[in-house]
Amino acid sequence: MELKTFKGGLHPPDNKAWSEKKAIEVCPLAEGDELVVLLSQHIGAPAEACVKKGDTVKKGQLIATPKGFVSVPIHAPTSGEVVAVEPRLGTAGTRVPAVVIKADGQDAWDDSLAGADPDTLTPQEIKDRIRDAGIVGMGGATFPTHVKLSPPEDKKIDYLILNGVECEPYLTADHRLMIEEPENIIEGILIIKKVLGVEKAIIGIEANKPDAIDLMTKACAGRGIEVGALKVQYPQGAEKQLIYALTGREVPSGGLPMDCGCVVQNVGTAAAINDAVRRGIPLIERIATVSGSAVAEPKNLRIKIGQPLSKLVEYCGGVKGDLGKVIQGGPMMGMAAVSLDIPATRGTSGVLLFSEGQVLKEPEGPCVRCGNCVRACPAFILPTEIAFRTRKGLIDEAEKLNAMDCIECGSCTYICPARIPLIQSLRQAKGAIIAKRRKV
């Protein structure tokens, strides 16, 4: 069978063997543990706390309400007492508003949570349930799912694409989910299909997960869901690249997947949607891979939102050797963590620990004009040209070179023989262009 793929990209060593055979384990929570639940764990406006210090909360209880359409509510990950509502160190390394809950060890559910049969609900009722459960994209970008499922009237959607690619090296959370909970994912897909009213649904999985491809193909047979095997190539799991690989359609420059009739959802999001609609469970847990050369025993964990990264690492046997760098998410697109004390969020798809020797320390060299970044770029832009214009402050020129088409996959930086942090300048260019457009 010929494997589908996109143009550009590269293939970094995937290092998935460390954790891909490890079944998902529940990261334990003891009485007295503090959970730091950040109020901005999604793209869009931060939620607003609706509990105060001293309140007791049940597991799954609403603790913060959304502000605006592109925002989601946040729920208590366990039962216990609210010990603080104050700024705490967040993912980005800055202090951000958070609700701190001290677990009472009971882990008692809020009784008012109830599921429903999706067959008896209208698409709008399902969408409301998805929003009220705080579901966001579980691939790591954390975009509110109900917004993605509400395309404008004039956009005709005819293709639902499920992202089971997991092209980031080291990460195996989606892989394990597909193997251990295929039914949960498939039922979630059927719910999304109903909301969007689409006939065609396809799950894209990279060929380095043959067991998941086999299992999902068997489980999906006769239920209106296809499975597409994809070549192992980074960034196969990026929305626009995945759409091209599976359907041959191209998202126009500056457009969204809905502009070519597609909606893309992560398999983890599908499972979370099923939990939310059928069982009434809000998004308070997720699966994360803890891996890398500086962790004693790499594992896949079911973690509670708000658990500090240090707890996750501790459960995996702690730090091995000298720790050089911690990355939240995958090594290509993830963010370096300033400390292990920061809490896990809805976007924590992985926690990777690398030893001191693996951290790049040499300064950048001069650009040798090799063109590797241009060949690797899956968005067909010129990373080196844009980066150097950005450094000179020539934002208008960067915009003309289509800097906004950058998907921040990091391929250019990975391949650069001169070790130039191109992606850093590209992100800066995008930020400056957005700020400029807002001003005009």
Binding site: V338, E364, Q428
Partner: protein, 273 residues
């Protein structure tokens, strides 16, 4: 031979007539004042006046509707010259100079992570709010140095930006590029300044910096005319500045975050007072 001389001479003569005619017919009228003003301006094209370059400002002043004292780099001498050209009285304000309100170099202030990326403050600031633990401190990567048209800023070997009070012309270019807003404009006549930009409470400041303002109010209690403390950060009241009182308050500062530039620049700087 004669033919060649005649024909070339003829072409030359014809061209001269055409050029002479064109120079009269298409002459661009330039206000002689504008030209004189442009010659008087320093020619740095820094934009401190708010106009596009020196020629833009010269034109605006020549039109008679713009204040002739807006060229801060030129200082008193230039303003007087322009005023003379325009035939108005020179009003020279006290010149302003920029000051980096931070002394937390790499030896005195803690970093929260090791930064190895693009050597530019604006880029670094986007990564977890910059490597320096202090939210307001100078990052020392030299974005202001590159922006300064007058070569008035240097980065000390310890990684702190310092501005030469003699070379600084007050064009504010550095103020606008600094992502941490740590550079402030101050009157040149005042030499005592509070060199801290952190509004955090005392214990917090102490956790990351040896030379930051802890908001203890000692300077204010000693010289209430000169110092005020707002939101845990002291500042100098330049309107009621008095050198003697300022120094009295400075001497009481337990963290030495107040500095008299007349007595010396921060450690590692090559600038002389």
């Amino acid at each position: 031979m004669i033919g060649a001389v005649l024909s070339l001479g003829g072409i030359g003569f014809l061209a001269a007539v055409i050029l002479g005619f064109a120079s009269k017919k298409f002459a661009v009228e330039v206000d002689p004042k504008e030209e004189a003003i442009l010659n008087a301006l320093p020619g740095a094209n820094c934009g401190a006046c708010g106009y596009p370059g020196c020629s833009g400002y010269a034109k605006a002043v020549a039109s008679g509707q713009v204040d002739p004292s807006l060229c801060t780099p030129g200082g008193k001498a230039v303003v007087e010259k322009i005023a003379q050209i325009m035939g108005v009285e020179a009003v020279v304000a006290d010149p302003m100079v920029a000051v980096v309100c931070c002394q937390g170099d790499n030896e005195k202030a803690k970093d929260k992570y090791k930064y190895l990326g693009v050597q530019d403050c604006i880029t670094a600031q986007m990564l977890a709010g910059g490597p320096k633990d202090c939210p307001g401190g100078c990052l020392g990567l030299g974005t202001c140095v590159a922006a300064c048209p007058f070569g008035a800023i240097e980065i000390t070997p310890q990684g702190l930006a310092v501005i030469d009070r003699e070379k600084c012309t007050g064009c504010k270019k550095c103020v606008s590029v600094c992502p941490r807003k740590v550079i402030k404009m101050t009157p040149k006549s005042a030499t005592v300044h509070v060199l801290c930009n952190s509004h955090d409470k005392g214990p917090m400041v102490k956790s990351y910096c040896k030379i930051g303002c802890i908001g203890c109010q000692l300077c204010k209690r000693t010289s209430p005319e000169v110092y005020e403390v707002e939101n845990f950060l002291a500042s100098v009241k330049y309107d009621t500045y008095d050198a003697e009182q300022a120094i009295a308050g400075m001497e009481k500062c337990p963290t030495k975050c107040i500095r008299d530039f007349a007595a010396g620049y921060p450690e590692g700087s090559t600038f002389k007072s």
